[in-house]
């Protein structure tokens, strides 16, 4: 341990003077000297109130030259410079200066902070990241902060600001940094040794530097961060103030419910406190118990929680469509929330396929969810999972919402049957969804038609209709944009090797599925060839079945046709 640390604090405040009074007192009670800079926009009467409230604290001074501070402008640096100068002049034996805002709450006792600083008294705690290397900034300009001019206020003159930036980019304007400086960025809140701070404030070239920084963008995040590299021997690049920003660069507010998390974080100072967070204000800073502990801050957990929130704001929950998340097509970031399987044509080949499949998979196996007569939920309830109605009129009002809600509300994987008879509205949606497993056997719908016993004219009409629908669907399935895991076979192909095809698909859908030993009862394809021939002869062009159906009894059909 070397000489005792004498801490000075610069507090920049803009509004909420009650909170400022409270925080300034916390710093002063902890043994720090405080210089308060109150924004010039605050009325003299309100400032008088603050002065009276803090009158009995001897170690608090008010900066005489008040500046009108506006966000992102040099006025904030000016205010800091003047406040630091006043502080060092009034208390010359100050060894460290901490820059805080009127919404920065000390979490740990000030004594622990001074003990922590005393452990290595020559170190400057300031985040200082080279702007050329890693992108430090969140949402906004980075290196251009230094290379363009920023004479307009972003909050009040947004239009001019944007136009002027665009114009400068077009003109290729590139300001040159004063010699000897390399641009660095970092958190606005720092703790410097008095030696380094004096060196920065009394630098013979300060006027030149100030001139340069006056027209940079957000100089409070770059002025001291850049100059410290010129004057400091030991930079500990990291802020002692925990301040998290969201994706647009706005600071997060801290509320009463963050109390435990803040206590766990072991950070010295946190920002930014919501002024109404009374429990935080009454709990922090934690009282000193015994000898001050000097363990370093561990903001990881707090950071993780805030990062999660940023993720939710930016990426959202996949497959969720709701009142405040309604992604446009192809910006969904996950069309659905979980894998699901669509099986097309198998119920036409095996009448009891659904029941058979249920025995093999540990999934929710539904019937034709998009069937024309109704939604065939597993077990055929009137109201399905998530209280989704089985009424087809309700489903067809918003088929995509129907499917995505079902997948999101259920815990197990959803498997359902499909056919050209069903609602085709989601063909593109499903085919382009990486969560979808699809087994499509085209032309399978011909088998029930073969056994329907309908008059030939009706068979021909239905045949033409279903074939047209399936051909349209094939345009989708053969497109470049398919992201589903698609197994596509025509009927002939499937009937030659049904068992390995099914086994393959079931294993992909559910790795723990029961091995396929036997197939369910199958519709007899005998006579299909004859039906197709008859349809062809009636002027249709049957497709989608494959070239080689299992040998049908050709001579017989021919004879029948001859009769």
């Amino acid at each position: 341990m070397t000489a005792a640390v004498r801490l000075g604090v610069v507090v920049l405040c803009h509004g909420d003077l009650d909170l400022v009074a409270r925080l300034a007192r916390i710093w002063a009670d902890g043994g720090a000297r405080v210089a308060v800079h109150v924004d010039a926009k605050v009325s003299a009467a309100r400032l008088g109130g603050l002065r009276r409230a803090l009158a009995e604290c001897g170690d608090i001074i008010f900066v005489a030259r008040r500046h009108r501070c506006s966000w992102g402008r040099f006025s904030l640096v000016r205010a800091t410079q003047d406040a630091a100068t006043d502080l060092l002049a009034r208390f010359p034996d100050t060894t460290h200066v901490y820059l805080a805002s009127g919404a920065c709450l000390p979490l740990r006792p000030i004594a622990e902070l001074t003990a922590y600083l005393a452990a290595d008294p020559d170190r400057d705690h300031i985040e200082s990241v080279s702007s050329r290397d890693v992108g430090w900034t969140v949402g906004g300009l980075s290196h251009e902060r230094f290379t363009l001019f920023f004479p307009f206020d972003w909050k009040r003159r947004r239009w001019l600001f944007d136009r002027f930036v665009a114009w400068q980019r077009r003109r290729g304007i590139c300001r040159r940094m004063p010699s000897g400086l390399s641009p660095h960025l970092g958190s606005q809140w720092w703790c410097l040794t008095a030696r380094t701070l004096r060196a920065i404030l009394e630098d013979p070239r300060r006027a030149e530097f100030d001139r340069f920084f006056r027209f940079t963008w957000i100089p409070d995040e770059s002025y001291f961060q850049t100059l410290v590299r010129r004057h400091s021997a030991q930079v500990e690049s990291g802020s002692l103030t925990m301040a998290k920003f969201d994706h647009t660069g706005r600071p997060y507010l801290l509320y009463d419910d963050h109390l435990d998390m803040l206590a766990d974080s072991r950070c010295f100072v946190a920002r930014k406190i919501w002024p109404g967070a009374s429990r935080l204000l009454s709990r922090f800073p934690l009282p000193v118990d015994g000898r001050p502990r000097v363990d370093p801050p561990q903001p990881a957990r707090m950071s993780r929680i805030i990062d999660q929130t940023v993720r939710r704001r930016v990426l959202g929950r996949p497959g969720l469509y709701m009142q405040s998340r309604f992604p446009r097509k192809d910006a969904e970031n996950g069309k659905t929330s979980a894998p699901y399987a669509v099986i097309q044509g198998l119920t036409d080949i095996f009448p009891d396929f659904e029941g058979w499949l249920r025995g093999h998979l540990s999934c929710d196996v539904h019937g034709h969810l998009f069937g024309p007569e109704g939604v065939e939920f597993a077990g055929r309830p009137r109201i399905g999972p998530g209280a989704i109605s089985a009424d087809p009129r309700i489903r067809d009002r918003d088929p995509q919402g129907f499917l995505t809600s079902l997948i999101r509300i259920t815990d197990r994987m959803q498997v359902f049957q499909f056919s050209p008879r069903d609602n085709q509205a989601l063909n593109w949606f499903i085919a382009t969804d990486p969560n979808a497993h699809m087994l499509v056997v085209t032309g399978a719908w011909k088998l029930p038609l073969l056994h329907s016993g309908m008059p030939f004219d009706d068979v021909r009409r239905v045949f033409a209709q279903l074939q047209r629908i399936e051909l349209e669907q094939l345009d989708v399935l053969n497109s470049l944009w398919v992201r589903a895991r698609l197994h596509h076979h025509d009927l002939g192909e499937f009937l030659r090797h049904p068992l390995p095809i099914l086994q393959d698909v079931l294993l992909q859908i559910d790795p723990h599925s029961v091995p396929v030993a036997a197939l369910p009862a199958m519709r007899d394809p005998t006579g299909l060839d004859g039906m197709l021939r008859r349809l062809r002869n009636s002027g249709l062009r049957p497709r989608l079945t494959g070239e080689d159906l299992p040998a049908a009894d050709l001579p017989i059909t021919e004879r029948t046709a001859a009769e």
């Binding site: 969201d246 994706h247 706005r250 997060y252 507010l253 509320y255 009463d256 419910d257 919501w274 109404g276 929680i305 805030i306 929130t309 940023v310 939710r312 704001r313 930016v314 990426l315 959202g316 929950r317 969720l320 469509y321 709701m322 009142q323 405040s324 998340r325 309604f326 992604p327 446009r328 910006a331 969904e332 970031n333 996950g334 109201i383 399905g384 999972p385 998530g386 209280a387 989704i388 109605s389 009424d391 009129r393 309700i394 009002r397 918003d398 919402g401 129907f402 809600s405 079902l406 999101r408 509300i409």
Partner: protein, 342 residues
């Protein structure tokens, strides 16, 4: 249908004309309101206001007022549409309620919205205003720890002017007629079930809002005509400005930007819910009466559907209903979101 104006400028001009018409209607409709107790001078700067139109809701009022006082509403602006149950006397005795009375037609006043627009314009400017029905109760993320002022100040710092809260129909287990809720009692102690995931959404290109339908009302009363089932999307909380106007109930507003409360790039914005305590024993009597008055939207077809449904002894509960716990449950289900309010 209305978006077919061709050039976007046409739509903008039409919306502007419509907004001005609505504001004018509000100014005119406000003339029908007679102040019974005007305490609006007690409204302080930055106070959150709550605006309500009501008729014969005496039994609900104590719990309603206490609920919103607990959240941090500082003043209530209420329009009594010719109640006959003594609710007005009760409200006049409340120190934080300003009350107006009218016997003008609810339907002719665009289902009360002209009155609301009038009061919003007169007293709501510069305040966060919550416009709800007496059976709607706001739920928002972090509500157990943070008052409504925390939400509004955060919204303001994020540059947001409106906050969406979808209507979530709550219902009891068992027949609705048997779900008694005594005066001053929490209605959600009785009607504490809701539908978790049967909502459908469509974007309204002209007004920019989302049109949400679903819930128990659609599956029980409107399966024959889902298009007619009531809209559930609402934007009840707005930092009011003289240029604003509610278009249809609190479903949407003008200017159009206020309706853009959702993210279209995959992210989530903040949202809440209005728990709807409609389905209690009082509902049967109320729906019969409303059917008689024919003062509701779409020729009261909603009430006709309820009336038919109730004759069959309606029980909205099903095995897939969820029991309401707290806002976290609603967030997990994806009905509301905290957005980036960590």
């Amino acid at each position: 249908m209305r978006g077919l104006g061709g050039h976007p400028l046409v739509g903008r001009l039409r919306r502007r004309a419509e907004r001005q018409r609505l504001i004018a209607r509000g100014i005119l409709g406000g003339g029908a309101l007679r102040a019974l107790s005007d305490r609006t001078r007690r409204i302080g700067p930055g106070d959150i206001l709550c605006l309500v139109t009501l008729r014969d809701e005496r039994a609900r009022l104590p719990w309603f007022l206490d609920y919103y006082r607990g959240l941090g509403v500082r003043h209530f602006l209420m329009v009594d549409n010719d109640s006959s149950d003594g609710g007005a006397d009760y409200l006049r005795a409340q120190p934080d309620v300003s009350l107006w009375w009218t016997d003008a037609s609810y339907k002719a006043a665009r289902f009360g919205m002209d009155w609301m627009n009038a009061l919003l314009r007169r007293h709501g400017r510069g305040h966060w205003c919550l416009t709800v029905d007496p059976d709607e109760f706001l739920v928002y993320p972090h509500m157990d720890q943070r008052p409504l002022t925390a939400l509004t100040s955060w919204l303001e710092s994020a540059g947001r002017r409106s906050f969406p809260a979808m209507l979530l129909d709550m219902y009891p287990k068992g027949p609705i007629e048997e779900a008694l809720c005594a005066q001053g009692q929490d209605p959600f102690a009785v009607a504490r079930w809701f539908d978790p995931a049967n909502y459908s959404i469509q974007k309204n290109a002209y007004f920019g809002n989302l049109w949400i339908q679903g819930g128990p009302r659609r599956r029980a009363f409107f399966s024959h005509d889902p298009l007619a089932s009531p809209a559930l999307n609402k934007i009840p909380l707005v930092k009011w400005d003289a240029r604003y106007a509610y278009v249809s109930s609190t479903h949407m507003l003008l200017p159009r930007g206020l309706n853009l409360v959702y993210d279209e790039d995959g992210g989530e914005l903040i949202s809440g819910c209005l728990l709807h305590a409609k389905f209690l024993s009082s509902f049967a009597a109320k729906s019969a009466e409303e059917l008689d008055r024919r003062q509701h939207y779409g020729d009261s077809r909603e009430y006709r559907a309820y009336h038919d449904g109730l004759h069959r002894g309606a029980d909205l509960w099903c095995s897939e209903s969820r029991e309401y716990r707290d806002w976290r449950q609603l967030e997990d289900l994806g009905l509301i979101s905290r957005g980036n309010w960590a």
